[in-house]
């Protein structure tokens, strides 16, 4: 057999591959972002806020699969939800662009600690355990623990979960709450809440337990599922801030307070949550302080 043409073919294939690699690298170059908005506050040079303004973007970890808080919408290709709106609000106050990256219950704190993200806005309940690793802002939302079951299920109360398989996210507060409240329940721990939805839709688990707002998001996607309205825990959400960054915490606390005071909170709530739930469950901005929130999940 004549070997020459085959070698030529391999050489061409490798050149094509190299060209593809180079082309892919080229795509990474981003066009330089717009000038920061003129209205943004100025900060002393050594603060995190000044560094973020210098960089022009703030990287925020949000969930990508939890409507109505953080959803990577396949139609628009944009991340959207309550957490995203608050993130954009904070970015606007800094006069920078917000870049949203996926941070789920299990990896969000490591991502913040190693500096991959500047803030966490990922439906994160304030707990003393997490407070050892990072700092929390004042609460910006209060969710409640609830259970989701398929329509027609015999599970009606928390005790009924005994002996049943219950899905929740790895690293969520429910991992420990369910173990403490219903030790006989068999926990299925997954990385993302969308996996819990897949599991309950195919009857691979008997129930999903987590914050009511996250479960409401699942009911919006599949109305054969039922929320039990148990409200067995109170879960105030806080913004995750790198440990010990007091200036950043002060700035985020101010931002959250302003978000609530100028009516943005209510607007965002009505858009993402209010319209989907019964009127008697509609709530206002959180009336709980960080100190009180920490006592709900002590060490």
């Amino acid at each position: 057999m004549n070997r020459e043409p085959r070698w030529r073919l391999i050489a061409i294939a490798m050149l094509v591959l190299a060209a593809l690699v180079l082309a892919a690298c080229g795509d990474d170059e981003e066009e330089s972002s717009d000038e920061p908005a003129a209205a943004a506050e100025e900060f002393p040079a050594d603060t995190t806020m000044a560094e973020i303004q210098e960089a022009g973007t703030i990287t925020i970890g949000v969930k990508f699969d939890v409507p109505p808080f953080g959803l990577n919408n396949p139609q628009s290709g944009e991340v959207e939800g309550f957490d995203v709106d608050l993130g954009n609000y904070i970015a606007d106050r800094l006069g920078v662009e917000a870049e949203f990256v996926e941070a789920n219950s299990d990896n969000r704190i490591p991502l913040l600690v190693d500096g991959s993200i500047d803030l966490i806005l990922s439906t994160m309940t304030i707990t003393e355990e997490r407070d050892l690793e990072i700092d929390f802002s004042e609460p910006y939302y209060v969710a409640n623990g609830d259970v989701l079951v398929p329509g027609g299920s015999e599970i009606a109360a928390l005790e009924d979960l005994s002996g049943q398989t219950v899905c929740t996210a790895l690293g969520s507060t429910y991992q420990e709450t369910i173990k403490a409240e219903v030790p006989d329940a068999q926990l299925k721990l997954v990385d993302r809440y969308s996996e819990c939805l897949e599991l309950i839709q195919t009857d691979a688990v008997d129930a999903v337990s987590t914050d009511n707002v996250i479960l409401t998001g699942m009911v919006i996607q599949d109305d054969t599922l039922e929320l039990l309205d148990l409200d067995f825990t109170t879960e105030p959400y806080g913004v995750g801030i790198p440990d010990g960054d007091t200036e950043m915490k002060e700035f985020v606390d101010e931002s959250v307070a302003e978000f609530i005071d100028d009516g943005s909170w209510q607007e965002t709530y009505d858009e993402w949550v209010g319209q989907y739930i019964p009127e008697d469950q509609i709530q206002g901005p959180p009336d709980i302080t960080l100190e009180e929130a920490l006592k709900l999940f002590p060490l």
């Binding site: 219950s105 299990d106 704190i109 490591p110 355990e129 050892l132 690793e133 899905c167 790895l170 690293g171 991992q175 420990e176 926990l187 299925k188 721990l189 997954v190 990385d191 996996e195 897949e198 599991l199 195919t202 009857d203 691979a204």
Partner: protein, 220 residues
């Protein structure tokens, strides 16, 4: 903050339950992989064309689909199609059938290492083809591929972590370690012990295969 040793002693029940889930998973998958792998290898070397085709189709299917995709098909896919497969069955079957494709290929190369003259001699002595395989070819083929099988079993033990990390959510060693990590945030300590757990399994496999290698060694 407790130290390296305290992490292990405080969470020993979780670590050991995860370790035994992983152990059971790889033990069952190993049996499936050896049985199916041998069968497929026999198909691939059989003097019957349609058996060759079936064997080839098996190997190319299971070897060319990523394990994670296989797990999704075997679990979420089948359940969506109305088959109530359990995570345990889907996990052991996927890991076993996936590894079987590699074992079949290793065995096939071992079969080709057995001289063709031996097969001809056996057949001319009146042995049927399956008996020739069972009595003459496969024992020698297994002996040649013991080191290769050892590597495949080690790879399978490590691949078992993918089963636990997938949608199946089996409470295996990695899942238990991640659960402890998310409660204590002692990342380095927790994953150190998880690594030790996996190494206990892989090193045991290494020693077992080294023993077989020496036991069935051809004295030269």
């Amino acid at each position: 903050m407790s130290g390296l040793w305290e992490v292990l002693t405080e969470h020993l029940p979780e670590f050991s339950s995860g370790f035994f889930v992983t152990f059971r998973l790889v033990a069952v998958a190993f049996v499936i992989a050896i049985v199916v792998g041998t069968l497929v290898a026999a198909f691939r070397v059989a003097p019957v064309r349609w058996l060759n085709l079936i064997g080839g189709f098996y190997v190319e299917t299971f070897r060319n689909i990523p394990l994670l995709v296989l797990l999704f098909i075997a679990f979420a896919g089948l359940r969506r199609a109305g088959v109530p497969i359990s995570p345990w069955v889907a996990g052991t079957a996927s890991l076993g059938l996936y590894t079987a494709a590699y074992i079949a290929e290793a065995l096939r190369s071992g079969v080709f290492a057995v001289g063709k003259g031996q097969v001809d001699a056996a057949l001319s002595l009146g042995l049927t083809y399956p008996r020739t395989l069972r009595l003459i070819v496969l024992p020698q083929a297994f002996r040649t591929v013991i080191p290769a099988l050892g590597s495949l079993v080690i790879a399978m033990i490590k691949n078992s972590a993918i089963v636990g990390a997938s949608l199946l959510a089996l409470p295996d060693l990695l899942k238990e370690a991640r659960q402890i990590q998310s409660e204590t945030f002692q990342t380095t300590e927790v994953f150190f012990w998880a690594a030790v757990g996996y190494m206990i399994l892989t090193l045991s496999a290494t020693f077992a295969f080294r023993y077989f290698e020496r036991r069935f060694e051809i004295k030269r």
